[in-house]
């Protein structure tokens, strides 16, 4: 995995005689559906009031390389809120939504494989994506912490259509060949889990739990993503976009898990060109 990351990083540095650089900030709605039988047989659904992404892309005549980061927090429910009483509370208590946090990190390196840059362009290559999921389930008086981390190496295809001078429509599809998967264990709080969270520091715990994963073949974990983006140039430097993102994750071990994401985001991109001699 380290080798792949290094190669991708090198690819960012060592490419293009003339490069177009783009920095894009995205914000928008993201809907998350999650059914993890480790915690519940029900499907949790929630919108992310916070869904913020930042990406950098360097593209040239023959290739494009990008890195990105996205953070989303979802308030999710499987059933409507309800009240219950507790011996030491004078007023009824109300169940709260579960809070799911997803951190996505991604990098890709693609080569142009067809099309003319003026009209339609096709790229193909590899992407490395990591999603860290911290899941705070709320079941009324008590809750549970869960985690899911998936790192995927995916063949990636990107197609881009240009409509006139200013408009373009781009889609990309990723289908991982190799996944590294870490999930909450069979009974959630086993001794390894307890030991790994004993630093009592959130990020350190999440990284230790994530490291405790395994390579998952296609029959053990299925993932994939698709995105579409309409972009309109405002001027030579600035562009605005409207995008749709879809992602799917399925895994059977230790209990069936299915998670689906749908997002609609608006973005603002700043582009600049640089010649490298």
């Amino acid at each position: 995995m380290k080798t792949i990351a290094t190669l991708l990083a090198l690819a960012i540095v060592c490419q293009f005689a003339t490069a177009q650089n783009t920095l894009e900030l995205t914000y928008g709605f993201r809907h998350y559906q999650r059914q993890d039988l480790t915690f519940s047989p029900l499907i949790f659904k929630g919108l992310a009031p916070l869904n913020l992404g930042l990406s950098y892309q360097k593209s040239g005549e023959k290739s494009q390389t990008s890195i990105g980061l996205n953070l989303a927090g979802f308030a999710s429910r499987s059933v409507a809120a309800f009240d219950y009483t507790k011996w030491n509370e004078s007023e009824p208590l109300t169940t709260l939504p579960s809070n799911f946090w997803l951190i996505d990190l991604g990098a890709s390196h693609l080569r142009r494989v067809g099309g003319a840059a003026e009209r339609t362009t096709w790229y193909a290559g590899l992407s490395l994506d990591v999603q860290l999921g911290a899941l705070f389930y709320d079941f009324g008086e008590y809750g549970a912490f869960g985690y899911t981390t998936i790192a995927s190496l995916s063949p990636t295809v990107v197609g881009k259509w240009h409509f006139g001078e200013k408009n373009s429509l781009q889609f990309s599809a990723k289908l991982p060949l190799l996944n590294w998967l870490a999930r909450s264990p069979y009974a959630i709080n086993d001794d390894d889990f307890i030991e790994r969270q004993s630093s009592h520091r959130g990020l350190k715990t999440l990284l230790r739990l994530s490291a405790d994963g395994h390579l998952a073949s296609l029959d053990q974990a299925q993932a994939g993503s698709f995105s579409a983006k309409f972009q309109r140039k405002i001027n030579e430097k600035w562009a605005a976009s409207l995008g749709y993102n879809f992602a799917l994750l399925r895994s059977q071990d230790p209990h069936p898990l299915t998670a689906i994401e749908n997002g609609v985001v608006v973005g603002i991109a700043w582009a600049w060109s640089k010649s490298i001699k």
Binding site: I43, W87, S198
Partner: protein, 335 residues
């Protein structure tokens, strides 16, 4: 044309997503009852320690429900069945119902008022004691010159206060009050106690369910108090009661490995496994205990509780008179 095909493909992708999930289970009362029994059969670890026969319970309670049973009837049947476990780690959160604990002490608040922190503060602690921001959190100070006192209401970051409680000159004893300690994360307690422990000691071992079969467990995992600390050099008296539960009972197991520790009071609650919260098909919340725990000598206290070295209880009359005879006994032992 390309755009139309693209939009149609997108609409199909969004429209068929529900089919990707597993069908959610039925939510009628018999279906939920069956789900509970099957889940406890596969997840609940201390079945044998608590003498539970799931087939017998299913036969006893299952016929009380049918597809027309109300939520209230389902709640009544489930709580009656789960009460057989008598386990504080088993609870049920249901709409418009009281939070249910399977353990009789927690459910009925039996002997709840035999421990009165207000009496300790008013009549035993010397002026200038420290109290945590939440009254269930911690309190520490001096009971008399040289005798430190620390009470923790749960096991968490509050145990970091133990070091401050012991930062008194010329201590000759410590009363560590763990009555009404509702548990939490025992690793906080281990880290606090390691500062009093010079050499590595096994404190307990545990194993966790990792499959549906009755014998599907992880390997035993041994927990230690790491060494490197400094033995206090004075006796410690630990106070326990029936509300000393879960992670705090594991803390008591760890304390028993330190030198010159005496446990007094009542037997602990007996819910030493860990607990996890999950959800039933009808959206109700419940907790279940998926671990077995053994002391270093192989003793199992699940369902029984850890007995004190000296059994002593407050009475209601003691409380009315402003006395805490358990604490007085601790002081007597430290004289």
């Amino acid at each position: 044309m390309k755009s139309i095909i693209f939009l149609l493909a997108l609409a199909t992708l969004i429209g068929c997503q529900k089919e990707i999930f597993q069908p959610e289970p039925a939510t009628d009362a018999p279906a939920v009852f069956d789900y509970v029994v099957e889940t406890f059969e596969s997840w609940y670890a201390p079945t044998e320690e608590r003498g539970i026969d799931w087939s017998a319970l299913r036969q006893q309670y299952g016929p009380m429900l049918n597809e027309q049973s109300t939520d209230s009837e389902l709640y009544e049947v489930l709580t009656a069945m789960l009460a057989h476990l008598d386990d504080t780690h088993v609870s049920l959160t249901a709409p418009d119902q009281p939070l249910f604990f399977a353990n009789e002490y927690y459910r009925e608040r039996k002997d709840d008022s035999l421990f009165r922190p207000d009496i300790v503060e008013a009549n035993y602690l010397l002026p200038g004691f420290t109290k945590g921001p939440d009254e269930e959190d911690y309190a520490y100070g001096l009971l008399e010159e040289g005798i430190a006192y620390a009470w923790f209401g749960h096991v968490g970051a509050n145990w970091e206060q133990l070091e401050k409680a012991l930062a008194q000159p010329n201590l000759t004893g410590l009363v560590l009050d763990l009555r009404h300690n509702e548990g939490g994360d025992f690793t906080f307690a281990l880290q606090a106690l390691e500062k009093l422990n010079p050499s590595r000691k096994e404190v307990f071992r545990s194993r966790t369910k990792d499959g549906d079969g009755p014998n599907d467990f992880t390997d035993w995992y041994t927990w230690y108090l790491e060494g490197g600390g400094k033995a206090p050099g004075y006796p410690i008296v630990v106070l326990t009661d029936r509300y000393t539960v879960s992670a705090c009972e594991r803390s008591v197991l760890a304390l028993r490995q330190l030198d010159d520790v005496t446990i007094i009071g009542d037997t602990t609650n007996g819910a030493i496994s860990t607990t996890v919260a999950r959800q039933l098909p009808n959206g109700w919340g419940y907790r279940i205990a998926p671990q077995d725990v053994e002391a270093p000598d192989g003793a199992v206290y699940e369902g029984k509780g850890i007995p004190p070295d000296v059994f002593i209880q407050n009475s209601m009359a003691d409380g009315e008179a402003g006395r805490d005879v358990v604490l007085e006994k601790a002081l007597e032992l430290l004289q």
